[in-house]
Symmetry: C2
Subunit: 328 residues, 2 copies
């Protein structure tokens, strides 16, 4: 006898919660976890970070691209990446799940458990949530973290500051391309799309050392997010294409993936040139590459990507705008 | 020459934010407001409350039922109601807006300004947000508040405790009924649907006095939320139908609106009978009625609604399940 998976409409909002809640464990500083009107948490720091981000079906992923658990994990990670970009530590999150009535209840539980497991992996916890009906599946996570003494913002870069990026770029966009062709695709690029990196250690060390002047996470593509950093800092920038770290796979597929692909979740930061040696020594503790890709320029220079010879490279797309593009 | 409103797809995510952000003002404890990877806030209390809630088109409202500004305000108020139900004070919120590409950009700005204005009205502020494409409009707000010394949970009620409710019930559900018939409907019931009450003062006084044993906000209907309080407290309850506060309008339309209509956003609390006189004296400072509607019973009695003679009243619906019902 085969059993059909029960839908969330059959189980109901309250039935769903009654089953899910006992499986979630309380974490650090959690006085009262999910299940009441609010969570109650105890903060050991007065200065907090607060951010929100969502993964929406047909915008950020398509059916079958991620398992429910992977989707939950990724929803946490993309939020935690914003905390990393300020140099903080994630602490407590809440989730709003919107799902069609025919969604299997077990899938929605798996999303929540994916969030909770990813949070627990970095000393944070899922403390509350909410469920409602919608035409398409979406997972919205709001995350509170502990701020470092001096949070790194997008707005402190000055002309002459060097631009560094953690890890490598373009891999996740290559994974999206593979999944769009074949949703059963595998391999490192697909894995990278499913599980973005989380540069908490690099972010925290960069905020603590006091040498970086500005930081942002690369979620919309290097060019777009560098554009945000430049706009906030009122500077221009010049990136040397050959220095942008990407795998041979991404290189073969087209380096524009590394410039405008999006979904990288690496950190991009500006460091005054006088701190170059010190910050590169510090970077040996990041647990990932840390590559100088160019420098900040006066605002009038705008944002240029140049080849090794200094010739400008034309950019066909400037980044990820969720209203302009779709996955696949 | 008439100008067509520009859509969010035309303005773009970043263009939208560039226009909206300068119009938002920073509030109490806000070190860094919207526009960076995270907001940075400074808390004057170590113990915080954290909650999330969403208003989704076709689930919580239909097109034309609320202006964009009213929708933003309501999205804040329903979250703040959860903070009120623990006895806390709302402080900072973030919003995730999901909208179809053809949504007018000005409408989405108005939603955000509605949130910000409602927050400012109670000493809180909108500190961040995110925008993504979706098939239907939804507004998800996550809210952090300051907890009272002893937050009131759902789980402290004991058999014999008296049950009180603030304000009056059923009006908003009557408003939903009117709007479902005619989306241009007006009047007090529709106004009540559009602008739920926010019982912060009653909640804070009830938490501070130490006399209430449990509290919840009535968002899914009295019977459903009393059911949650009873389940968490492991008690039963008996409500006397004639004591349930509702307007003559609601009474004429059917008292089931007051029992199971939902959208009331009043507070329901349990108070040991020995504190009856003191809590009723305190309630003169709530700024709204505070009515004893029944009492907690042993768990084996379940949840009963009785007439003045003590005869049980049958309940046709037990509350609001978003997967089972639709507005209209």
């Amino acid at each position: 006898m085969s059993r059909r998976a029960r839908t969330i409409a059959e189980v109901g909002e309250f039935g769903f919660l009654a089953r899910l809640l006992p499986t979630l464990r309380d974490g650090r500083g959690v006085i009262l976890g999910p299940g009441d009107d609010c969570a109650v948490v105890q903060s050991d720091a007065a200065r907090l970070l607060f951010t929100v981000d969502a993964l929406v079906e047909r915008v950020h992923f398509r059916a079958g691209w991620l398992t429910p658990r992977q989707l939950g994990r990724k929803a946490f990670l993309v939020n935690a990446s914003d905390i990393a970009a300020m140099g903080g530590a994630p602490r407590w999150c809440v989730v709003h799940l919107a799902a069609p009535p025919q969604a299997p209840s077990a899938d929605l539980s798996a999303i929540c458990r994916g969030i909770a497991a990813a949070a627990a992996g970095v000393g944070a916890s899922l403390v509350g949530g909410n469920l409602s009906r919608a035409r398409e599946l979406s997972v919205t996570v709001a995350l509170v973290g502990v701020a470092p003494r001096r949070p790194l913002t997008r707005s402190g870069a000055r002309p002459g500051d060097l631009l560094y990026v953690t890890g490598a770029l373009g891999e996740a966009a290559l994974g999206v391309r593979a999944l769009a062709r074949d949703r059963t695709a595998g391999g490192p690029a697909v894995r990278r799309f499913r599980t973005p990196p989380l540069r908490l250690r690099a972010g925290a060390l960069l905020a603590r050392c006091g040498w970086a002047s500005a930081m942002i996470d690369v979620s919309d593509g290097l060019v777009a997010d560098l554009g945000h950093l430049c706009a906030a800092s009122r500077v221009g920038a010049r990136v040397v294409l050959e220095r942008v770290p990407c795998s041979p796979r991404v290189h073969r597929a087209g380096v524009s993936l590394a410039l405008t692909g999006g979904e990288d979740y690496e950190l991009l930061c500006a460091v005054p040139a006088r701190h170059r040696r010190r910050v590169e020594r510090l970077a040996t503790r990041f647990g990932c590459p840390f590559t100088c890709i160019g420098e900040c320029r006066p605002a009038r220079d705008g944002l240029q990507v140049v080849g090794a010879t200094g010739a400008a490279v034309s950019l066909s797309a400037t980044g990820h705008d969720h209203f302009a593009r779709r996955p696949g």
